[in-house]
């Protein structure tokens, strides 16, 4: 796992791994997988709270568990910036990772695809593929979203692309 920063690495190793290799079209097996996903997410969130780094909330937006929405936040210069988070579970999950989206930041940074899909580091996809099906949503957040926020938000704030909601305009606007 060269190329990852040590905190990410150590956090990742503590998130429980998943075992059921099932996607949203696999009926009963998908329900099993969802249970494992929730377990891993709860464990990851508890870890974050214990380290005083509770940085996201997500929940399934539909009963099938194929669409997830929530919020994530990042603290920069003592200010907390909050963003909407959403993603769909692709049909080829878990072979392919979900494409995490921050719709409010669409168009504000080059490190983003259409619709606010964050651009992940080169290391992410190979690591995900090697660890399929052990990695799940919690791992995607830890390996994908957290480093992205850490890399991009400071730049966006310092360059004025986003403003804190307590300023004249909220972080929702440019």
């Amino acid at each position: 796992m060269e190329g990852w920063d040590p905190t990410t690495k150590s956090t990742l190793t503590q998130i429980p791994l998943l075992s059921v290799k099932a996607g949203p079209r696999d009926g009963g097996a998908w329900t099993q997988r969802l249970k494992e996903e929730y377990k891993a997410l709860i464990a990851y969130t508890s870890m974050n709270k214990a380290k005083d780094n509770d940085w996201f909330r997500i929940s399934a937006a539909n009963p099938e568990g194929t669409r997830w929405t929530g919020k994530c936040w990042y603290i920069h210069n003592l200010l907390k910036y909050e963003f909407d988070l959403q993603f769909d579970i692709p049909v080829t999950y878990p072979a392919t990772a979900p494409e995490l989206e921050l719709p409010q930041l669409d168009g504000k940074t080059q490190k983003m695809y259409r619709g606010g899909k964050i651009c992940l580091t080169v290391h992410f996809k190979p690591l995900w593929a090697k660890n399929c099906p052990r990695f799940g949503i919690a791992h995607a957040l830890c390996l994908g979203l957290a480093p992205w926020l850490a890399a991009e938000i400071p730049i966006l704030v310092d360059s004025g692309m986003i403003k804190h909601k307590d300023d004249a305009s909220s972080s929702n606007e440019s």
Binding site: P24, T66, I89, T96, E99, Q110, K111, C119, V122, C132
Partner: protein
């Protein structure tokens, strides 16, 4: 119609010149003006009208004259069959949009287009889309342009993301749908072309085609942006897209060699124009060879822009492929082998050259055919 208007104009002129009473001139000139305007209107509206059958006549007004020539020259048997074929194109970007245009101009019967993106000015470095289409979805813009170029093509477009559960279901049912040609066996389409720009979408097309036992072709530009390729995938017979994991995973190449510092793939200007025009050409050429059964359909053709190198290869399926549908197709393909071998044998026997009957035993000029070749000593001329 243009010709008739020209005639009308010249008649009016003659009439005007023959009138002794000049008071009516204004009225006539008005009439002339209207006819001229109509003529201009008609010129802008010369549309290609739908035709019943493709005809091979080499005249200016026949849009298929140059294509039917392929048949006359013996390259293709029965070119008009192209009107029976249905091709699905996933991804209407730099490669996909050009592929749709080429197939449309070739007179393909039915095209299904899939993309969820919109046209932007940043797309203008590639062919097909026009600046005034910025803001339209790529599918709408494509249908707009293609239906104008050739109204004979039946166009079906889907503005959706095939990787979501709902998008995938629509994708699958549209491929299965046989309303264009109900006599097809298997799917309603003859070929699927993947012209997408990401691994996830390719995996989804792979999944769909493995499940439907649908032959497809994949095209792509490598991450290092200096080479491209097209690939033919026949579920069970050739490797599927999941059989061989992408380069970076398999061979442990340092990921940094794929991405230069500071250039995020999301904004990578994949704009080497030699590739964007070349790749769809290669893709459609392979498509036509596959559909119309001429030439050799390449299983894989690469293009290295830096060295002008075109490697080809064949990829066999992976018996441990992670895709269960692929494994099923492999099993079916193996089981069908005896039937295939028997059919191939029968075909070879049917094509075996029979004893050619001699047409002319003798002729009045005493010309003889010597099977032995040229013998200089036998020549009477010195």
């Amino acid at each position: 119609m243009e010709g008739e208007l020209k005639e009308l104009l010249s008649d009016i002129k003659t009439l005007k010149n023959s009138l002794p009473d000049r008071s009516q001139y204004a009225l006539i000139e008005n009439g002339q003006g209207s006819v001229q305007k109509s003529g201009g209107f008609v010129k802008n509206f010369i549309v290609k009208c739908s035709i019943q059958d493709m005809n091979a006549e080499v005249v200016d007004s026949n849009p298929y004259s140059r294509l039917m020539a392929l048949q006359k020259m013996g390259i293709v048997d029965n070119y008009e069959r192209i009107r029976e074929f249905s091709v699905a194109i996933v991804g209407i970007g730099g490669v996909g949009s050009v592929a749709t245009e080429v197939l449309t101009r070739c007179g393909i019967g039915h095209l299904l287009l899939y993309d969820y993106d919109t046209v932007e000015l940043a797309n203008m470095n590639r062919l097909f889309f026009r600046p005034k289409q910025a803001g339209l979805t790529k599918t709408d813009a494509a249908v707009q342009t293609l239906s104008d170029i050739n109204p004979d093509v039946v166009l079906e477009s889907y503005t959706l993301n095939i990787t979501t559960v709902r998008g995938f279901e629509t994708f699958m049912s549209s491929l299965r749908n046989k309303s264009f040609c109900s006599s097809k066996d298997g799917c309603g389409v003859d070929l699927v072309l993947s012209c997408v720009d990401n691994y996830e979408a390719r995996m989804v097309v792979n999944q769909a085609c493995n499940e439907l036992n649908q032959t497809w072709m994949e095209s792509g530009v490598s991450e290092n942006a200096v080479s491209g390729h097209i690939q033919l995938l026949i579920p069970g017979k050739t490797a599927c897209f999941a059989c061989a994991p992408p380069l970076v995973v398999a061979s442990g190449i340092d990921a940094h060699t794929l991405k230069r510092e500071g250039v995020c793939a999301a904004s990578l200007p994949t704009t080497m124009t030699t590739r964007w025009e070349l790749l769809p050409g290669l893709l459609v050429q392979n498509t036509l060879k596959y559909l119309l059964k001429f030439g050799h359909v390449t299983p894989y053709l690469g293009y290295n822009a830096l060295k002008d190198y075109f490697p080809t290869m064949e990829m066999k399926p992976n018996p441990q492929c992670s895709n269960s549908a692929c494994l099923e197709r492999q099993k079916e393909y193996a089981l069908a082998k005896p039937a295939r071998d028997a059919a191939a044998k029968a075909k070879m026997e049917a094509e075996a050259p029979s004893e050619t009957k001699c047409l002319h035993e003798d002729n009045e000029w005493n010309i003889r055919f010597s099977a032995g070749g040229y013998h200089p000593r036998a020549s009477k001329c010195r």
